[in-house]
Symmetry: C2
Subunit: 386 residues, 2 copies
């Protein structure tokens, strides 16, 4: 028995940082995915739980007996009731992870492996399986790779349980029903809590439902895009400290309360305008071009406001300068201070220009990904991916 789930990453189209101070933000799914395949051994010839991180050529394996022993305090799995990992359980899980001697350079993985163990044992219990993970999402670059992992993992595990309805007749990728999405989104959020401490819930929600989400002060509203949007996502590969960047904006806000509060208001206006452009119907090519031009201008404005908040970075500026040469608008996405930069690729832009921009950005040492945005959320394929 084999099940594969894939869940998309996300970008922040508008409003990062300002959202912490009450402004509206808009996030969207990108068609870059994390795939999780759960294989249940047919016979009892293997009594272990294996996690294979294919992109890193890493495999972690635990005898089921060892897991049972460490997590003896857990009750039977209750896949239909998402539960938070208790402090006691997280300690037991950490012990299981520590045994694996994760290489120093990959230490950030440890919390992901902990989330895996929690979700697996909570939904599947103490059963042997091999869980293989591959991803098109660069890790830790603000594209929601950890949420996509938690969503895909929860989806695959739930598909094997009795808690969701999956059409097992037809081949190919299938979407979940609304109530199943709600359940797996909750489970994914529990995984995200183990990885991030206090996640906003935006990443897993976008990865689960796909499309776009507008959020203000903790309220999430799903919005359905009425236009195809293609973005160049440039990963500067510059690591950043998200907490320090958020703290920096807060400190600046304390020093300059008047100016910063109006800056956040400006971002709020921009996010609302972005959402309304995306929502409005676009009957023909001309109006798509007009909408794209408006989005480009709003991206440029948002980037200026992010610079005003002090979260840009030399590497981001390099991407901006390079894309500007080709008259393309860009903005950082996520925390800033490095990470990823979005560049809108208008519908009528020639492929030659796109190739040139990418060549130039890659020469700077950046990684370029082209992605449609606002696509489907998590999907499942029974019997392995097609």
């Amino acid at each position: 028995m084999e099940v594969t789930a894939r869940a998309p990453g996300k970008i922040i189209l508008s409003g990062e940082h300002a959202v912490v101070h009450g402004s509206t933000a808009v996030a969207a799914s990108i068609n870059l995915y994390t795939n999780v395949t759960v294989s249940i051994p047919t016979a009892g010839n293997d009594d272990s739980l294996k996690l294979q991180l294919k992109d890193m050529a890493l495999e972690f394996s635990w005898p089921i007996g060892r897991i049972k022993e460490a997590l003896s305090n857990l009750g039977p799995p209750s896949s239909s009731t998402p539960t938070s990992c208790s402090i006691e359980s997280i300690k037991s899980i950490s012990a299981l992870v520590e045994e694996k001697n994760i290489p120093e350079a990959k230490i950030a993985l440890a919390s992901g492996v902990s989330a895996f163990l929690w979700l697996y044992t909570s939904i599947q219990g103490f059963k042997p399986a091999t869980v293989a993970v591959t991803s098109e999402l660069p890790l830790g670059s603000g594209l929601g790779s950890s949420a996509a992992f938690c969503v895909a993992l929860s989806a695959a595990l739930l598909a094997l349980s009795d808690s969701v309805n999956v059409d097992k007749q037809h081949q190919g990728w299938k979407m979940f029903g609304e109530s199943d999405l709600e359940l797996l989104n909750k489970w994914a959020f529990e995984g995200e809590k183990i990885i991030h401490g206090k996640p906003s819930g935006i990443d897993n929600t976008v990865s689960t439902y796909g499309n776009m989400i507008k959020f203000t002060s903790g309220n999430l509203t799903r919005i359905k895009s009425n236009m195809p949007i293609k973005m160049l996502v440039t990963n500067t590969k510059v690591g950043r400290n998200t907490k320090a960047l958020i703290a920096g904006v807060s400190e600046r806000t304390l020093r300059h309360p008047n100016a910063m509060s109006v800056v956040f208001n400006a971002v709020d206006s921009i996010s609302n305008e972005v959402a309304s452009i995306i929502l409005s119907p676009a009957p023909d090519d001309v109006s798509i071009t007009e909408k794209e031009q408006k989005l480009e201008e709003l991206m440029e404005m948002n980037q200026g406001l992010l610079q005003c908040m002090g979260v840009s970075h030399a590497s981001i500026e390099t991407v901006l300068r390079t894309t500007l040469k080709y008259k393309l608008a860009s903005k950082l996405t996520g925390a800033g201070g490095g990470g990823c930069v979005l560049t809108l690729l208008p519908t009528l832009l020639s492929g030659t220009v796109v190739d040139k921009v990418i060549t130039e950005l890659e020469t700077c040492g950046f990684q370029c990904l082209i992605s449609g945005i606002g696509g489907n959320g998590v999907e499942i394929c029974i019997g392995g991916s097609s």
Copy 2:
């Protein structure tokens, strides 16, 4: 008889563009000067009016008879009553300028030469003289070179008239009294009108009075700086179309009225904060450093907002990136789209760092000027500059 006047250029410390939309801006004088020397021939051996633009190795000369003929409709000079150049007079003056066949590449000079002829004949009448001009200010780069020329010229001409009181006893640079400054500022404004059509009056006022000026919706308030501020002024040498840049901001404001109006509010807050930092007493080095850090942060914020308005330029970004490497804060000054960039040079910054930054910027083809800001306005020296 020889009189030399020198008048400083200006920078916009904060609030360019937003000031057009009702926000506060702060301008300051820089200690880079335009010098105008008026020499009256002792005997009647030369009956012409000569304008020598020393930096450009240009000289224009008109027989006094030719000027009299062209401007026969003018009454006697009335140096104490600044008057605007009528449409009829500007036509006659243009004819005098056209006779000089100003080289195509220097065509922008024509309006400056017209302003010269208007101010000269209005204040001095039809008398022979040689007027020599030198300047430390790059032309047309937003540092107020035309206003400095009009102010220095008006000062020198008025010093030769009976309309102002000048101490002719003592050698060296001397300042004018308050009412004389008011008179020469008005004359300079008449010259600026010939050059710019509808000048704001800020450039000539800063050049006349020196120090700093805060202005909102046409109201100018002189403010006295309580801290020494040194700026690196980098001239990108990229020419720009100020009117088109201003129009671009207005068009963006029409497209995104909500976002842009709060952006202008943010600039207003920043300008007021800049003014209050400059005005507040700074008793010791520590608090000067603190004030400098605040100014740096406000400059960075203002630059972000200018980028949000869409008036930055690749050359400006290059300066920003270069100075950021040395942890120095910069912002464009004036219209943007090229022109000049300000970089604050903190009091405790080592000269080695300054040298390095300048070398790097000059390698990019930029011109670097170090300038104290908020110094004296126009000054005069009887008997030639010392």
